[in-house]
Amino acid sequence: MNAGHGAAGFGTAHGIDTTVLGENEIILNMGPQHPSTHGVLRVKLRLDGERVVDSECIIGYLHRGVEKIAEHRSYPQFAPYVDRMDYVAAVSNGLGYCEAVEKLLGAEAPPRARVVRTILAELQRIASHLLWLGTHALDIGALTPIFYAMREREEILKIFEKYCGARLTTHAFRIGGLQYETYDTFERDVKRFCEDFAQKIDQYETLLTENRIWIGRTKGVGVLSADDAIALGVTGPVLRASGVEWDLRKAQPYAAYDRYQFEVPVRENGDTYDRYLVRIAEMRQSRLICLQAVEDIPEGAIMARIGKVLKPPPGEVYHSIEGPKGELGYYIVSDGTIQPYRVRVRPPSFFNLQAFHRMARGAMVADVVAIIGSIDIVLGEVDR
């Protein structure tokens, strides 16, 4: 499947014409080693003074062939690899993959496992948004929020560590459920974190939301209309900030999301400021979900009975979840052996990144950084 190549073509088809430069125009190459391209994104900018005339994202510097590797691993063996895609939200990656394979097998994780998965995935969403908040603010020049954000993220990572021993690439779930039972103080830890967290979000908002400079730097910057967003396949907070109410947790509930009350934050303007507000509101909602879920975790088994050797029947499946960055989809083709015939990942960052070209037109160099930050990309996921 060459959807990846075709999609990248959206950028390259418009590729910058570097041969004919207008008056005062220069080509600026941002990255792949640049402090605020979030890893190894390379952006080629055609600048008129400080204004962006044209832009082109060049990706692939972190390509590790994750999808190809899948074809030579058994289903459980491949599970740790997906953690390395969106490495700041490994739990969500694992959730998507495990559920996709379960769908392929026709199995379903037991209720207890589904609730714990929901809690961990929502904590991961908060952690991912926190990291985004810190780095985004840092890109715009606010030095302090990142340390506050990291402080809270640390608490989440501690919960992960206590649960499965790993902090970043957790490999928390297994196909069919969970490998580990929750630890003794799991509920208490989660509850305490969630209760403290409300006030922590207020802290971030005090620093940023009403700040004149922050508003000046983000409002009206990198506007993406709802139509454009849909046409480009943008999902997640970026889509919702453009005024489209679309959240897979509501639209196609998975794990245990149908059991909980929560809202999907939506904003109208589709600019950087709205994307910021949407993510902040999402953190509050995630917190509420965690609080509800941790109140009553059903008793029972944590693994479904799926056998030792996984041999899904021949066929194909597409399963997607609402990752922190948008729709994270897995398309798996099985030929009936223990190894998948093909795994194709639909990473949210990759599709969201396509909107960059549209958002950056007419922006200034400083805005480019703000826009890249507001898309919240992880290159491990874009390049896979």
Binding site: I26, I27, L28, N29, H34, P35, S36, G49, E50, A137, L138, D139, I140, G141, A142, L143, T144, F147, Y148, R151, L207, L208, N211, I213, W214, G216, R217, G220, M364, V365, A366, D367, V368, V369
Partner: protein, 452 residues
């Protein structure tokens, strides 16, 4: 030959001052960096440098050592001569500006009768270090940083200059010493007379020293390190030194002009210790230093490593030494007492001003270039103009109509406040299309400066 020796002997004290400043400044800059890192760390819920010496007290020395030993890279196709020369310009210019800055009544290299203008003029030359460094590196990031810097410095110099004019009118002199003397005679720091002048100077001085939230020329998240991108090692250290030297300069300037320079707070309070000629309040510096020493001694045993204990104790002893000097100065002649205590108060005020700089830096996000230009040209400069005109009117009211100095300046402040409110309301109406091209800004700047 006799005349020659006479002229030489006349310059010994200034030369001594100059040598001391040149020797101490790098150390001072290093420790300001350390303080900045510590302040930043504590504002951000972390500890900051802790490893090199107790509480990182030796960190600046380690940093300096590293920078000096580092490989000095000159990029290919760089203009080697200018690349080599640019940081030197920056540092030289920053150091030259110190020659007119009075650190207390005794420590001043030269009391020029145009001292204030001299400092402003010389610091405006610092731009060459930045622009030429950026240009000669032969890198887009550097060039962008240099251009931003040039436009920014030129624009904010106008605002800062106009803010200084308001003080100048009040003091009626350009000599730094006489400005302080005027504040002593009028019995009030000028910041209370022209708060808006101070506000404008505060903002403009942050911008002029390229500090956050106006640190666009070296905005690390956008253009890497701006004009310093291609610099490394010692040359980079020179830029760094120049930056901090400039921070101290603007802080010193603000202190002298708005905060009474070396004057002690409550200059009118003259109660003496019974039976002596020592003023009560003059003991405060000594007490402060002793308190600091006690704090150091209390921390010393808590240090984890023996070396750290010793260094901490040494810091305490140093504080005690300062306290002793301050105390001894009380019993010296008037000149000695004023010299030492003046220097103390001056440095304290400068430190407070620099602390404000740090505080802003860690609280605010960064401006964008067009917003930065708009702030200067459409807000600060009109405000400064209104302020200057108002001060002129106030002086007429005072001298011709015999108003009370404070009362005469109230209308000025109110008018400026009204103007600020109006401009802010106006600003939110500005459509996004308002294009303040850097080129236009630069051209306006020079034309304006000719008119000053």
């Amino acid at each position: 030959m006799h005349g020659f020796f006479q002229s030489v002997s006349a310059i010994i004290w200034p030369v001594l001052c100059a040598v001391v400043i040149v020797l101490l400044l790098p150390l001072l800059a290093g420790y300001i960096v350390l303080v900045e890192r510590k302040v930043m760390a504590h504002m951000q819920a972390r500890l900051g440098p802790m490893r090199v010496g107790p509480h990182g007290l030796l960190q600046p020395i380690a940093d300096a050592l590293k920078l000096v030993l580092k490989e000095d890279v000159i990029p290919m196709n760089a203009d080697r001569m200018i690349f080599w020369f640019a940081p030197v310009i920056s540092v030289t210019v920053a150091l030259v500006a110190y020659s007119a800055l009075p650190i207390g009544p005794a420590f001043q290299i030269a009391d020029l009768n145009v001292g204030l203008l001299f400092i402003v003029a010389v610091s405006s030359l610092g731009i060459y270090g930045v622009v030429l460094g950026g240009w000669s590196s032969n890198s887009h990031y550097s060039l962008l940083g240099a251009m931003r810097s040039a436009a920014q410095l030129v624009s904010y110099e106008v605002a800062a200059g106009l803010a200084l004019v308001s003080v100048l009118l009040l003091a009626g002199s350009l000599s730094m010493k006489e400005i302080v003397q005027a504040q002593l005679d009028q019995g009030v720091w000028f910041v209370f007379y022209v708060p808006f002048g101070f506000f404008i100077y505060l903002v403009a001085s942050i911008a002029e020293t390229n500090r956050a939230p106006f640190d666009l020329p070296e905005a690390d998240s956008e253009i890497v390190a701006g004009y310093m991108t291609e610099y490394s090692g010692f040359r980079w250290a020179l830029y760094f030194l120049a930056e901090y030297a400039n921070v101290i300069i603007v802080a010193g300037l603000a202190t002298t002009l708005f905060f009474g320079g070396w004057l002690r707070p409550l200059t009118r309070y003259h109660d003496h210790f019974p039976g002596t000629s020592i003023e009560l309040l003059d003991v405060v510096p000594t007490l402060l230093m002793i308190a600091l020493a006690v704090y150091c001694f209390r921390l010393a045993p808590k240090q984890p490593v023996r070396v750290q204990k010793r260094v901490m104790a040494a810091a305490g002893v140093k504080c005690l030494l300062f306290a002793a000097i301050l105390l001894a100065a009380l019993f010296g002649s008037d000149a000695v007492r004023q010299g030492v205590h003046g220097a103390f108060w001056f440095l304290v005020k400068v430190g407070a001003y620099i602390y404000c700089f740090m505080w802003f830096r860690f609280s605010f996000p960064r401006y964008r270039f067009d917003q930065l230009m708009r702030l200067s040209w459409q807000f600060l400069i009109p405000l400064a103009l209104v302020n200057v005109i108002g001060v002129g009117v106030a002086i007429v009211l005072r001298e011709r109509l015999g108003w009370n100095p404070f009362m005469s300046l109230v209308p000025t402040t109110l008018a400026t406040l009204g103007c600020a409110a109006w401009l802010t309301a106006e600003e939110s109406d500005f459509s996004e299309e308002a294009e303040s091209s850097a080129t236009v800004g630069g051209a306006e700047a020079t034309a304006n400066r000719g008119g000053e």
